[in-house]
Subunit: 196 residues, 2 copies
DNA sequence: GTCTATATTGCGATAGAC
DNA sequence: GTCTATCGCAATATAGAC
C-alpha cells in the first residue's frame, strides 16, 4: 500500500461503521478488515481507536465551515434562511453519515463532543441568530418573536425530517427528488410563521 | 432484597446509564454496582444485558400510549396539534431520558429498533397524519400542503429543541419555566404557516 | 433468590521481526 | 510502513454453593 493510503482507507472504511454502531459498537479488528489494512495501522496512524474516531469526526464536521459564506451574502434575511435550508439538505445528501454523528454525539457524547461537535453546533446556531437579528430592523417580521425559538424551529423542521427517516421510510417519501418540494414547504411555513 | 425489588432496582439504575452511554457503552458490572445488586441478577431476571436494555426501552416507550386519547378528543384540529405539542413537552420533562433512547435508536439501532422504537414512531406520525387529513375538510388550511411534510415540521420544531439542549444550553434558555412561551411560539409559527 | 468463583471470549494495544 | 504474535485486561455469562 503506497504511502499513507492506509490512513485514508481506514478513515473511509470506518465512517459507515462508526455511524451505524457508534464508537463502542465497532472493534478495531472490524475496521481494519473493512479497510483491508493491518490492525496495527490504527495505532500507528491515529494512536488508537479513539484517535481514528476523532479524525473521522473532524473530517465529517469540516463541511460545516462552508456555512461561513452566509454572513457576507448580499441577500435579504429570508433568502439567507432559505440558503441555509438548501445548504443543510444538500450537505446531508452528499454526506449521508453526518447527521448520525451529529445526533449520536448529542445523545451519547464522547470526548469529541466538547471539542468538535458542540462548537460546530453553537457556531451554526449563533450564525442563524445573527442572521435573524440583522433582519429584525428592515424585514417585516411580526412582534414578539423569540430569536432562539425562531431559528431552532427552522433548524428543527429540516433536521428532524432526516433524523426520522429510518422510522418513517414506509410512511413518507424521503427521496432526493422531493427535496425541492420539501424546501419550498418548510420555507412556506416558516415565512408565513414569522412575517407580519 | 425483598421479592423482585432487584428487578426494579436494575431497571431504575440502568435507565440513566443506557441513556448516557448506549447499550455498548455500559457494562453489566457497572449496572449491578449502580443498582446495588449482584451481577448475576441481570441474567437471572432479564437473560442478559440486552434483555435488561429491552425491558428499559419497553418501559420508556410505554408512555407514548397516552397519545391515543387524541383521536377521541372533541376539539378542532389546531387544538389537537397544540395538545400534541404540550403532551410531547410534558413527556420529556417527566421522562428526561426518553428522547435519548429515541434518537440513540434512530442513529445506532439495536434489535429493539424494529420491535419497539420504529412502531412507536410510526404510530405517532400516523396519528398526526390522520389528525391533519381529518381537519382538511372543515379547517381553513391553505392549498398545496403536503400532509407528511406538515406534521413532520411540527414534530421537528419540538423535538429538535430538546435534542439540541446539550449543545445550546449556554445560548438558549431551556428551562421548564419557558415551556409555555415555547409552546405558544411553535404553535404561532405552525398556525400561521398552514392557515389560508 | 442471591451469592462467589470462574469459564470463555473478545477487546485494544504493542513488541519486535522484516 | 507493515506484518505476526501475543500480552494483559475487561467483557458477558453461568455453574454451583447456600
Amino acid at each position: 500500500m503506497a504511502d499513507n493510503d492506509c490512513r485514508e482507507h481506514l478513515i473511509t472504511a470506518s465512517i459507515p461503521l462508526f455511524a451505524a454502531k457508534g464508537l463502542n459498537g465497532v472493534s478495531v479488528r472490524e475496521v481494519a478488515a473493512a479497510a483491508g489494512v493491518n490492525l496495527s495501522m490504527i495505532s500507528y496512524y491515529f494512536g488508537g481507536k479513539e484517535g481514528l474516531y476523532a479524525a473521522v469526526l473532524k473530517e465529517q464536521f469540516a463541511v460545516l465551515d462552508k456555512l461561513d459564506e452566509l454572513e457576507q451574502m448580499d441577500i435579504d434575511t429570508l433568502q439567507k434562511f432559505e440558503w441555509y435550508v438548501r445548504a443543510t439538505i444538500s450537505r446531508y445528501r452528499k454526506s449521508p453519515y453526518l447527521l448520525r454523528f451529529y445526533t449520536s454525539e448529542l445523545t451519547t457524547p464522547t470526548v469529541c463532543f466538547e471539542t468538535i461537535v458542540k462548537p460546530a453546533i453553537k457556531k451554526v446556531v449563533q450564525m442563524l441568530l445573527e442572521t435573524f437579528t440583522d433582519g429584525l430592523s428592515h424585514e417585516r417580521f411580526r412582534e414578539g418573536l423569540n430569536p432562539a425559538d425562531t431559528v431552532l424551529a427552522l433548524a428543527g423542521m429540516i433536521n428532524f425530517y432526516f433524523l426520522l427517516e429510518p422510522a418513517t421510510a414506509e410512511l413518507v417519501d424521503h427521496t432526493p427528488q422531493r427535496d425541492e418540494e420539501l424546501i419550498r414547504h418548510i420555507m412556506d411555513i416558516f415565512t408565513r410563521g414569522i412575517l407580519k
